[in-house]
């Protein structure tokens, strides 16, 4: 069961990611990205990250991507122009990236020895209570700093997006 779930959802994730890069209209890309995020949430569940899976769905897929879709709809800008301006980038870049992927896979397989098999329920410390306890004890300083960062971001977004006052 774990194997099927992993294979299916990793395939969906990679397919959606490729679709994100290939599609020319931003809204198609945005929906593909939502697909990636949803399948990653399922993989998080397999890895025992219940809370983080739900946070992924609510924060990433539900809030951030809705903001993207909203902006795309608001600008109503059409599809990207056809044609590659830098053909050498394609001819050089894709083999290079594939090679890089090969090297990384090789390194991961070779260096990370004795990686445990992933079984559903193999790690159960990712429930909301555990995450919350760690967040408000050991990580309380980063948590507060991040909240200030979010406040600054809100102010910045408001300043940037407001209408000019004459």
């Amino acid at each position: 069961m774990d194997v099927i779930l992993f294979l299916v959802f990793s395939a969906i994730a990679v397919a959606c990611a490729l679709n994100l890069v290939v599609q020319r209209h931003p809204i198609s890309s945005a929906i593909s990205l939502v697909g990636v995020m949803a399948s990653l949430a399922i993989l998080y569940l397999l890895l025992g990250g219940e809370f983080i899976a739900m946070a992924q769905m609510i924060v990433y897929a539900g809030a951030i991507m809705v903001l993207f879709v909203f902006t795309i709809m608001l600008l109503n800008a059409g599809a990207e122009k056809r044609g590659v301006k830098r053909p050498w980038a394609v001819y050089l870049g894709i083999p290079l990236l594939t090679g890089l992927l090969g090297i990384i896979s090789f390194l991961v397989q070779g260096q990370v020895q004795g990686s445990p098999p992933v079984i559903l329920g193999g790690f159960t410390g990712g429930a909301a209570g555990d995450v919350g306890r760690a967040l408000f004890t050991r990580y309380v300083l980063p948590f507060e700093v991040v909240s200030v960062l979010v406040l600054i971001a809100i102010l910045g977004a408001m300043v940037l997006a407001r209408k000019e006052i004459e």
């Binding site: 809204i27 929906i31 539900g62 809030a63």
Partner: protein, 396 residues
């Protein structure tokens, strides 16, 4: 019994009941609205218009499902699917009653209990935005686009006070699983005031409940927050270009979302399937009494008909009501039916509130809508959450 077979049976029963309820919710809404406006509502199809939903379904299914030529086909077809799938999925985690034994099988009246039940429901409701936004965008129509934009802005804005209003009772209940949530609300203060979340830390949870209900109305695009489909400004808003089953999907999604909001309200604030007063004061006899009373009225009017056709229709319905009332008195069925009665009764009351408000209130203006959430609802819910947290911290 085999887990898969049991789940399949439960899914089948639940799906049938839920779909029928959604269809009849429409009939109830039309009847109630009509009586608020001193009309009769549907009367032609079947007795009291009871077959109207069936007629509507047949009409919508057999209608030609045409696709306008100027739409973005992929997203145009995807949007209703997203909307209706997400809306119907939420039913799978709702508990309708406690653990029961039917024909020797012990099971919960619930499809599955997630340890993150309430977060799962929140995730589904946030993802529901995509259905509406994509429908508005892909229709390639200015009214639809405006409706979609309004819907997504409104949903993002009202999600915040809603999440904060949900967080306050969660502090008291100390669980995210919907079943444990209801079990934590069991019992009575002084033997008669139920330990529902609304009645705990008294004024605070009433405030969260009200904030939750207001945001719930906005989340489901109902009057007074139905700007995404304001018919006198935007024709029909995001579903202007939709017809036949695709339109029906949006319609079904809206009603399913309404019931989900009511389910969450009942589970989180109103004690799920726990009765309003304890069984030793006779709360078990409320259900049969209501049904017998209905049966008595129907039989009386059937035997003294005001209109000639009442003689035909009312007595059979009266007998059905009486039989249902008798079911509640059978000791073997009692532990199953009484919790379901209280649960559906509370959900029905909230759904009636939805319809009542639709018949009563005018629509907000768009700037009023945004001001209302950001300047009033959001600060109030933040303060409410902080006060609740303070009380919980002081009590523990």
């Amino acid at each position: 019994m085999n887990f898969f077979i049991l789940t399949l049976i439960k899914t089948g029963i639940l799906l049938f009941i839920f779909m029928t309820t959604l269809a009849y919710l429409q009939w109830i809404e039309r009847k109630v609205l009509a009586h608020i406006q001193l009309r009769m509502g549907p009367t032609r199809v079947g007795p009291f218009g009871l077959l109207q939903p069936l007629a509507d379904v047949i009409k919508l299914v057999t209608k030609e499902g045409m696709i306008p030529s100027h739409v973005n086909k992929v997203f145009y077809l995807l949007a209703p699917v997203i909307a209706v799938t997400l809306a119907l999925t939420s039913i799978s985690v709702i508990p309708f009653g406690p653990q029961v034994e039917i024909f020797g099988v012990t099971t919960y009246l619930q499809l599955t209990d997630l340890s993150m039940g309430i977060l799962f429901l929140l995730a589904l409701s946030t993802l529901g935005t995509y259905g509406i936004a994509l429908a508005g965008w892909s229709s390639n129509n200015k009214y639809a686009l405006l409706g979609g934009l309004r819907a997504s802005a409104q949903l993002i804005s009202y999600e915040l006070p809603m999440a904060l209003a949900i967080a306050a009772p969660l502090l008291l209940l100390n669980t995210l699983s919907l079943r444990e949530m209801v079990e934590a609300q069991q019992g009575y203060y002084f033997g008669f005031i139920p330990k529902w979340t609304v009645f705990q830390v008294l004024p605070l949870q009433v405030v969260s409940f009200i904030i939750y209900m207001i945001s719930g109305f906005a989340e489901t695009n109902r009057i007074p927050f139905d700007l995404p489909e304001a018919e006198n400004e935007l024709v029909a808003g995001f579903h202007t270009e939709y017809a036949s089953m695709k339109f029906a999907s949006f319609f079904m999604a809206e009603y399913a979302n309404m019931t989900t909001i009511s389910f969450i309200a009942v589970l989180l604030f109103l004690g799920g399937w726990h009765p309003l007063w304890p069984a030793e004061y006779g709360s078990d006899y409320v259900a049969p009494l209501i049904f017998f009373f209905g049966a008595a009225i129907l039989l009386f009017h059937g035997l003294n008909p005001a209109r000639p056709k009442d003689k035909l229709f009312m007595p059979p319905f009266g007998i059905v009501f009486a039989l249902v009332g008798v079911l509640f008195l059978i000791p073997a069925l009692k532990p199953i039916l009484i919790p379901i009665f209280w649960f559906t009764g509370k959900v029905g009351a909230i759904l009636f509130l939805y319809i009542w408000i639709r018949g009563t209130l005018p629509r907000f203006r768009y700037d009023q809508l945004m001001n209302f959430t950001w300047k009033y609802l959001f600060p109030v819910s933040v303060v409410n959450l902080m006060l609740t947290g303070l009380v919980v911290a002081l009590m523990s």
